[in-house]
């Protein structure tokens, strides 16, 4: 070991995060130290990780053994293009979130602060170790650390009953999922008992085993990602957590599940079946549609974003499934296109969703309200947060020239021209999936207009909103970092796609190749005659037109204006209560998609002097899947409860009988 390698650099950076956490917990009451030094330091480490990962994407894979863990079971670490990409995502996003968190901390939190600092940085480090792990054991240790630290972060305000409940649900589903992952590793390792990823790659399974391994992994990672029907924890846990933690969980942690599933399906398993891809497509579409419909009817701003995260995970899974289909039919160029769209969307979602979660954090701090029905008009008091959130909103709605549009464009492109598949029905049905994606993207626009319009525009719905204050300096820097990420990812797509090329080479054995042979400004992944998009020209012309029109109008006409009361068709009485509420805005969706929703309504009688109207929309899957399962488990436990007699003699007899049975069995 003569020179310092990239892997070592990333490792040291991750240990640096742990060290920051340790310092924080040693000096729990030093507010200035924690918020003004430790968190910005964590952000700096994030940037370092992102830069190292960027160079690791271009470099050859590196491996290393750590003499930690159990005897004879050292941790294997490895960084290749895939893990480097996700490390880049982690580093780049966490830099923005950490610097925001530095400004978000409040002195009143007291000794909690040190603990939060430790948990937050351990969470970051464990995610880095998930990406680095190269054997099943190290992976599971890092995975569980990630689940536990995030659980404690979610339950930071554990005095609230509902937050405890959300945390419990999260912990439960995370662990049910972890069992799936563990079993999947078990199947892939076979009977050899060697849990390194190298051994799994080399071990070729036949028959039904690869399918079992894939399905177990899909179950396990799907639970973490929030795929249907394992999504129920997401809209509970995300709103419960402090905003930087929600941003981290939604932006980055969900992507670790995507990373794991990519690792298992493309790297550890050496052959893929086409119907795995179709299964993922179906799950992804269902997840995305469900997520976006529920996002559009939420009345709590963080729940709305949580459902929107479910939608985006669905879109990512759709792209993933398409990649699997193409890969199984050995179409490297098309699978590279679909994979690029998938990974690009992971990166985009990390940026815009963190940005949106952080802006809800600022709103929450300024107003103390999460309920959309009590917000409104905040663009006047909080212009910084409002305009930066607008960037996130436009990106999330998939509008050009921001980043969300590019990945949706790539995804639609990869669905449109699938005529090469040797499978008639698939050829026919895949372009129709594009129709569903178009619907989902348009609905996302609806949800995002509702989110922004109800929070930041209109008249304040409560008196106290007038005193709201804008975000502090550090918070602004964090938001700005993420917003410029949204711009940058949207404006230079060809550079990002070139960066993704090694990942595509690694996973699907083909890349998009040189994407810019037709000029640096043009993105044409297949051929410019077939499809092309140039964000630079697009943005450039808008950026020229808007000031030009403004200048022309003001130069040759006039710029006079007078402030008057709103016109509103001459209607004299206007109160903030006459605006649409969040419920009102979601009403068309509730009405059109009635059959998807579980709704209970209470109408007041016409003679009621104090009428109350209630409309509650609940998750039908909770009633269709979870409660029956819970009842089943309860009944099963009641059935076997007779074993538990509470007398030691009986337990001893159980042991004795078991021993006898085993002896008889092994003898035969």
């Amino acid at each position: 070991m003569s020179e310092l390698r990239l892997l070592d650099g990333i490792l040291i950076a991750a240990l640096g995060w742990l060290l920051i956490g340790a310092v924080g917990v040693v000096f729990p009451r030093r507010f200035t130290l924690i918020s003004k030094i430790l968190f910005p330091l964590g952000a700096a480490i994030g940037i370092v990780v992102a830069l190292l990962a960027l160079s690791a994407m271009m470099a050859a894979p590196e491996t290393r053994q750590l003499p930690l863990g159990l005897p004879d079971l050292p941790f294997h670490l490895r960084v290749d293009a895939l893990s480097a990409f996700f490390l880049f995502l982690l580093g780049a996003t966490s830099a923005g979130i950490s610097i925001y968190a530095a400004g978000y901390m409040r002195r009143s939190e007291g000794a909690q602060l040190g603990l939060q600092c430790l948990l937050y940085h351990a969470f970051l480090a464990s995610m880095a170790f998930v990406m680095l792990a190269d054997d099943g054991y190290a992976f599971m240790v890092a995975w569980e650390t990630m689940a536990l630290t995030s659980f404690f972060l979610v339950t930071a305000e554990h005095r609230h009953e509902e937050i405890r409940r959300a945390g419990y649900l999260y912990l439960l589903i995370a662990h049910v999922g972890a069992v799936g992952i563990l079993l999947s590793f078990g199947v892939m390792a076979g009977s050899a008992g060697d849990y390194t990823f190298d051994a799994m790659r080399a071990f070729s399974r036949t028959g039904i085993w690869p399918t079992i391994a894939f399905l177990l992994a899909l179950f396990g990672f799907g639970a973490k990602a929030g795929a249907l029907p394992m999504h129920v924890w997401l809209p509970e846990a995300h709103p419960a957590a402090p905003s930087p933690v929600s941003a981290m969980m939604s932006g980055v942690m969900l992507k670790t599940a995507i990373y794991g599933l990519l690792r298992v399906s493309f790297d550890l398993l050496n052959a893929q079946l086409w119907w795995w891809g179709v299964l993922l497509l179906v799950i992804g579409l269902a997840t995305a549609l469900f997520g976006v419909i529920y996002a559009a009817i939420q009345t709590d701003m963080k729940r709305l974003l949580a459902y929107s995260s479910i939608e985006n995970i669905g879109l990512i899974l759709v792209g993933f499934g398409l990649t699997l289909v193409f890969k199984s039919f050995r179409l490297p160029a098309l699978s590279a296109l679909a994979l690029t769209a998938t990974l690009y969307h992971c990166l985009n979602h990390a940026f815009f969703k963190s940005l949106l979660f952080l802006s809800t954090g600022s709103v929450l701090h300024a107003t103390g309200e999460r309920n959309l029905g009590k917000l409104g008009g905040l663009i006047h008091a909080m212009p910084w947060v409002a305009w930066l959130a607008l960037v996130g909103v436009l990106a999330s709605a998939g509008l050009p020239p921001l980043n969300g549009f590019v990945s949706e464009w790539l995804l639609l492109q990869s669905f449109l021209f699938t005529s090469g598949l040797p499978h008639g029905y698939l050829n026919m049905l895949l372009p129709v999936v594009a129709a569903a994606i178009a619907l989902i993207a348009a609905l996302a626009g609806f949800a995002m207009v509702k989110f922004f319009g109800v929070i930041f525009l209109g008249q304040p719905r409560e008196e106290k909103l007038g005193q709201a204050h804008d975000a502090g300096r550090l918070e602004r820097i964090g938001l700005l970092w993420l917003a410029s990420g949204c711009f940058l990812l949207g404006l230079v797509p060809h550079m990002i796609i070139a960066l993704l090329d090694p990942v595509a080479q690694l996973l699907v054995g083909g890349g998009l190749g040189e994407v810019t042979p037709h000029g640096w400004w043009l993105l044409a992944p297949i051929h410019p005659d077939r499809a092309s998009y140039s964000a630079a020209v697009f943005f450039g012309s808008l950026a020229c037109f808007i000031p030009l029109v403004y200048w022309l109008v003001h130069r040759f006409l006039h710029g006079r204006f007078t402030r008057v009361p709103p016109w509103d068709c001459g209607f004299p009485l206007q109160t903030p209560r006459m605006q649409d509420t969040a419920e009102g805005f979601g009403q068309p969706i509730r009405r059109i998609f009635t059959s998807f929703l579980r709704r209970t309504r209470e109408h007041p009688s016409p003679f009621d002097t104090a009428p109350r109207y209630r409309s509650i929309v609940e998750d039908p899957i909770w009633y269709a899947v979870y409660l029956p399962v819970a009842r089943l488990v309860e009944r099963a436990t009641r059935l076997i409860a007779f074993l538990q007699q509470g007398r030691i003699a009986i337990y001893l007899m159980y042991s004795f009988v078991t021993l006898l049975v085993l002896l008889v069995l092994t003898r035969g």
Binding site: F417, P431, A435, V449, S532, S541, V549, P565, D568
Partner: protein
């Protein structure tokens, strides 16, 4: 990229900016004739724009910076959209920069801004209009994309120029899928341009309005820009319909002669198209707002059907 491409591009933008208000005037004139009213002059939209541009802007007390900037953004989006659609030539400098999907994205960007501006002042009408506009939007947008995809599958390209070149200049073939797509496109265009039977451009003070409700608070130059942008949108949609379904006569080259010829053909086509639009508007009645999802759902299904028809016939 050559000098003629730049010339064609500039000419096309100028044509769109000049012709869009005239197209609106023409539709209004045709409608008035058919309804036995005396028609306003063809240039009436220009007179209105002129009047509005010179008037003072009255801003509501709590109108934010977003409210000021939205008209400029919306106008620029629509101008760019009109520049992207190939009308006079397929050899344009903007055509590789944005394909059909990006065009839909551009319309969506303008829609989001106009909806947000509608919510900004916080009046009952504004938010109502914004909500309805987004409702129409999320129903119409996928249908529009599907229409484009049907045309894209025929030409194996989402680039508008390539689509037009394939449909206009390759071997003559009849595409049954385009018939379905054409009906779907007409329905979407009616909804997107706030026309009867989905919305009524002349209505005011009615609970049924959509587009007008959002822009109630605008006045003066802001209103002028928004009205002009709406005219540009109608122009862009008409040209899209022409480009997708009646592309004959759009030249591939952009020398002055073919540009002139193309301009004459375009005017004739637009005159016919405007007449048909007025006819549809005269013959149909405004629907209740919750019939609009059914109307647009039909458009979406027709567009998906168009795509399936194409795939079935090819297989």
């Amino acid at each position: 990229m050559n000098a003629y491409a730049i010339l064609a591009q500039l000419l096309e933008l100028a044509t769109a900016l000049v012709m869009a208000p005239i197209l609106v005037g023409w539709v209004n004139q045709c409608r008035a004739w058919m309804q036995n009213r005396s028609a306003p002059p063809l240039l009436q939209t220009y007179y209105t724009l002129n009047k509005l541009f010179h008037k003072e802007v009255l801003l509501a007390h709590n109108a934010s910076s977003l409210f000021h900037s939205a008209p400029y953004i919306i106008f620029s989006c629509m101008a760019l959209a009109a520049a992207i659609v190939p009308t006079l030539s397929t050899d344009l400098i903007f055509s590789p920069a944005a394909d059909a999907i990006a065009l839909v994205g551009l319309f969506a960007l303008a829609r989001v801004f106009i909806a947000l501006a509608g919510m900004d002042v916080g009046t009952a009408f504004g938010t109502l209009g914004a909500r309805r506009e987004m409702l129409i939007g999320f129903l119409a947008e996928p249908a529009l994309l599907m229409v484009f995809f049907t045309a894209s599958l025929i030409s194996q390209s989402t680039s508008l120029s390539t689509i037009v070149e394939t449909l206009a200049h390759k071997e003559i073939a009849i595409y049954p899928s385009l018939a379905f797509a054409g009906v779907a496109f007409t329905m979407v265009s009616l909804a997107e341009n706030a026309r009867v039977p989905v919305d009524n451009p002349t209505t005011h003070l009615e609970l049924t309005m959509i587009h007008e409700a959002m822009i109630l608070e605008y006045s003066g130059r802001h209103l002028a820009l928004i009205e002009w942008a709406a005219a540009l949108k109608l122009f862009a949609y008409s040209c899209l319909g022409i480009a997708l379904f009646f592309p004959f006569g759009i030249p591939e080259a952009s020398d002055p002669l073919s540009l002139t010829l193309a301009a004459i053909i375009l005017v004739v086509k637009l005159a016919i198209g405007g007449f048909l639009l007025a006819l549809i508007e005269t013959l149909s009645a405004k629907m209740r707002i919750f019939r609009a999802p059914e109307f647009l759902g039909t458009a979406f299904l027709l567009a998906v059907l168009a795509m399936l028809v194409h795939l079935l016939l090819r297989a």
